[in-house]
C-alpha cells in the first residue's frame, strides 16, 4: 500500500516537473520573437553606445580603443558649447510655451459646453501630421519674402523679421514649430485628467467662498499634481532630443545658433564620419536625460506607495 503511494507521488512529481519544463519551453517559444528583436535592436545598442564612445570606429578593421579621446575631440569643438546652450534654451522655451499653455487650454476646454468635439479634433490635428510635413510647412511660412508670417506682420504694420536667417530669432522659430505640432498631446492629456476631478470638490471650495483663481490653485492643481509633474519630466526628456527641426529648417545655422546636441551627434556620425565622437555626445546626452528619467521613476514609485 505504502509503496504504491510513494511510487504514485513520485510519478506525479515527475509529471509535474515535466509539465513545468513544457510550460517553460512553450513560454520561451512565445517569447523568442520579441527577445530577438529586443536583443538586437535595444539591449545590444545600449551596450554598444558605451563601447562606441571609447572606440574609434573605422569600417575596415576592428574598432580601436582610444580612451577619452572622443570626448576630448567633441569638447574642443566650437559647436559643443552652443549645442548644449541651444538645447537647454530650446527645452526651456518649449516648456514655457508647451507646458503651461496646454494646461490653460485644457482648463478652458473643460468648461465649454459647445463645440467640444470640434475643438478637440482641431487641437490634435497637427499632432497627426508627420513631423517632417509640419516642419517643411513652417519653413515656407518663415520665408522672408512671400512667407505667411511676414505677410501677417506686414498686414498689422509691424516690421518684417528674418526668422530662420537671424541668430536672434532662429531658435525661437524652431520653438514655434515644435510647439505648434505638439500642443495637442498635452492638451488632451490634461483634459482627461481634469475630467476625473470630482465636481464636489469645486462645490465645496465655492461654498467656502473661493474665487475662480483660488479654485484653480487649491483644487485643480493639487488634483492634477502628479500628471503635471509626469508631463513636465516627459516633456523635458522629449524636447532635449530635438533633431528634426534644426535638421530640416536651419542645418544648425546661422553661426551655430540652432545647433543642438542631437543634431551635432548626427553631424559627427554622418557628415564627419566620426562615430566615436557622435557616440560620446550621445553618452553625455544619455547621462543628462537619465537624471530626469530617474526623477520620473522616483515620482511614480513614491506615488505607488
Amino acid at each position: 500500500m505504502t509503496t504504491i503511494t510513494v511510487r504514485g507521488s513520485r510519478r506525479r512529481g515527475r509529471e509535474a516537473m515535466g509539465r513545468a519544463v513544457r510550460r517553460n519551453l512553450t513560454a520561451y517559444g512565445f517569447l523568442c520573437g520579441a527577445l530577438i528583436c529586443f536583443a538586437f535592436f535595444s539591449w545590444y545598442p545600449m551596450i554598444r553606445e558605451f563601447l562606441l564612445s571609447f572606440q574609434k570606429t573605422n569600417f575596415v578593421g576592428p574598432p580601436e580603443w582610444v580612451g577619452l579621446d572622443n570626448f576630448r575631440t567633441v569638447m574642443e569643438d566650437s559647436a559643443f558649447g552652443p549645442a548644449w546652450v541651444n538645447t537647454a534654451m530650446f527645452t526651456l522655451l518649449a516648456l514655457v510655451a508647451g507646458y503651461a499653455v496646454p494646461f490653460v487650454i485644457a482648463l478652458v476646454l473643460n468648461e465649454l459646453r459647445h463645440a467640444k468635439a470640434y475643438l478637440r479634433i482641431v487641437v490634435y490635428l497637427p499632432v497627426m501630421l508627420p513631423p517632417a510635413v509640419a516642419v517643411l510647412l513652417f519653413k515656407w511660412f518663415y520665408d522672408p519674402g512671400p512667407g505667411l508670417f511676414n505677410q501677417i506682420l506686414d498686414l498689422v504694420h509691424l516690421p518684417a523679421l528674418s526668422w530662420l536667417d537671424s541668430t536672434t530669432t532662429a531658435l525661437i522659430s524652431l520653438v514655434i514649430v515644435s510647439t505648434w505640432m505638439n500642443l495637442g498631446t498635452g492638451t488632451l492629456i490634461y483634459l482627461a485628467a481634469l475630467q476625473s476631478i470630482p465636481g464636489e470638490l469645486y462645490e465645496a471650495a465655492e461654498l467656502d467662498g473661493a474665487g475662480l483663481l483660488r479654485r484653480v490653485w487649491h483644487v485643480t492643481i493639487p488634483q492634477t499634481r502628479l500628471i503635471l509633474l509626469v508631463m513636465l519630466l516627459l516633456q523635458i526628456v522629449a524636447t532635449m532630443q530635438v533633431f528634426i527641426e534644426p535638421y530640416l529648417l536651419t542645418g544648425g545655422g546661422p553661426e551655430n545658433a540652432t545647433v543642438t546636441v542631437a543634431y551635432l551627434m548626427y553631424q559627427y556620425a554622418f557628415s564627419f564620419g566620426n562615430f566615436g565622437g557622435g557616440g560620446a555626445l550621445g553618452l553625455m546626452l544619455m547621462i543628462v536625460l537619465m537624471v530626469f528619467s530617474a526623477v520620473y521613476l522616483r515620482v511614480s514609485r513614491d506615488d505607488k506607495n
Binding site: R23, A27, F30, G33, A34, L35, C37, F40, F41, S42, P45, E49, L52, V108, L109, E111, R113, A115, R120, I121, V122, L125, P126, P130, P131, A132, V133, L136, L137, F138, W140, P146, L148, L155, L188, I189, A193, L194, Q195, S196, G199, Y202, R215, Q223, T224, I227, M231, Q241, I244, L248, Y266, A269, G279, G282, L285, M286, L297, S300, D303, K304
Partner: protein, 332 residues
C-alpha cells in the same frame, strides 16, 4: 474608510492604477470612484458652477470665451493647413506674389498631379504603407505572444525578462541612434546588412517595451478562471491565446495597432538613416530629401498628399487614438 475613498477618487491620475482600456476596468473604476453617487448627481461640473452660467453676465462671458476659443483655434490650427492646401493650387507666380492672395485665382489641381509624377509620390507612399503594415504585423505577432507568455505562462526568469524589456523605456531613442544604426548595418553574429531593407524598420519597431507593458497589464486583468477552464478542457497555450485571450483583448489590440502604425508613419530620423536609397524612402523622408529642388507650390502639394492619409486615419480612429494617447502619456 472615508480616507480611502478620498484616495481612490484621486486614483484616476495615477499611472499605475489607471486602466483606461481594460476590459473590466470602466465598470470597476466608476464603481470605485463614486460609490454612493445617485443618478441626478452624475452631471459633471467643472471649475465654473452651473449656476453662474445661468446668469446674464455668466452667459455673456461664456459665449465670448467660446467664440474667442473657436475662432482662435481655427486660426492657429486649421488656417496653416488651409494655407498649405491653397498654396498648392496657385501658380508659381501667384505663390510668390506680395501680398499673397487668400483664395487662389483659379483652382488648378494640375500641381498635385505634377507633384505626384515628379516626386514619384506613389512609390514613397507604397514604401510607407509597406513599412507601417509590416511593423504592425511584427509588433502584434511578437509583442502579443511575449506579453501573453509573461502574463499567463509565467516562465522562469519571466520577471527579469519583463524588467529588461521595460528598462528600454528609460532610454531615450535619440541616444542609441548611432549604435542602433551600426547594428542594423552589420548585424552582430549574423553579419547581415539590413540597410535599405524593410527589416530595418519592421524588427526594431517590434522591440517596444511600452506595447509589452500595455498588453501585459491588460492580459493580467483577464480572470484566471477563464484560462483555467480552457486548460481543463485540454486547450494548448496557443489555442488559449487565440480563442480566449485575443477575443477579449480587442480594445488593447486596437490601441497597440494604431500606435504602432502611427509611430512608423510619423517617424523621420530612423528611416532617414536606414533607408538611404531614394527608391526605398518612406514619404516624409522622400519629400524632405527632394524638397530643396522643388518649386514651392509643388512642395506644398506633396506635403498635402503626405498628410491626407494621416488625417483620414485620425478622423476614422479618433477614439482609439485618443485612448492610446492617455495610455501613452502615462508610460513608465
Amino acid at each position: 474608510m472615508s480616507n480611502r475613498t478620498a484616495e481612490a477618487s484621486g486614483a484616476d491620475v495615477r499611472p499605475d492604477r489607471r486602466a483606461p482600456v481594460g476590459p473590466y476596468a470602466p465598470a470597476r473604476r466608476s464603481g470605485r470612484r463614486r460609490p454612493g453617487r445617485t443618478g441626478e448627481r452624475r452631471e459633471v461640473r467643472g471649475l465654473v458652477s452651473p449656476h453662474t452660467l445661468t446668469t446674464t453676465r455668466g452667459r455673456i462671458v461664456y459665449w465670448t470665451v467660446l467664440v474667442t476659443v473657436v475662432v482662435g483655434f481655427t486660426a492657429i490650427f486649421v488656417f496653416p493647413l488651409y494655407w498649405m492646401v491653397t498654396s498648392a493650387l496657385k501658380s508659381p507666380e501667384e505663390i510668390a506674389q506680395i501680398p499673397p492672395s487668400l483664395f487662389p485665382e483659379k483652382i488648378d489641381f494640375g500641381v498635385y498631379k505634377e507633384a505626384w509624377d515628379q516626386l514619384d509620390l506613389g512609390l514613397f507612399l507604397r514604401n510607407t504603407v509597406v513599412y507601417a503594415g509590416g511593423a504592425w504585423l511584427f509588433t502584434l505577432a511578437f509583442d502579443v505572444s511575449a506579453a501573453y507568455a509573461l502574463s499567463k505562462l509565467r516562465p522562469v526568469l519571466g520577471k527579469a525578462v519583463l524588467a529588461m524589456m521595460l528598462s528600454t523605456l528609460m532610454i531615450p531613442p535619440m541616444v542609441i541612434l548611432l549604435p542602433a544604426y551600426l547594428t542594423v548595418k552589420d548585424l552582430p553574429i549574423l553579419g547581415w546588412n539590413l540597410l535599405n531593407t524593410p527589416w530595418a524598420i519592421w524588427l526594431p519597431a517590434a522591440a517596444n517595451g511600452f506595447f509589452i507593458f500595455l498588453l501585459k497589464r491588460f492580459f493580467d486583468s483577464i480572470p484566471r478562471e477563464l484560462i483555467e477552464a480552457a486548460e481543463m478542457d485540454g486547450a494548448t497555450p496557443a489555442r488559449i491565446l487565440w480563442s480566449i485571450v485575443l477575443p477579449v483583448s480587442r480594445p488593447i489590440l486596437g490601441v497597440v495597432s494604431i500606435l504602432s502604425v502611427v509611430n512608423v508613419w510619423k517617424d523621420f530620423v530612423w528611416p532617414l538613416l536606414v533607408q538611404p536609397d531614394t527608391d526605398k524612402m518612406p514619404i516624409s523622408v522622400g519629400i524632405s530629401s527632394l524638397s530643396a529642388q522643388m518649386p514651392q507650390n509643388v512642395l506644398m502639394a506633396a506635403l498635402v498628399i503626405a498628410s491626407v492619409p494621416a488625417i483620414v486615419v485620425f478622423l476614422f480612429f479618433q477614439r482609439s487614438i485618443m485612448a492610446g494617447l492617455t495610455a501613452g502619456s502615462l508610460k513608465g
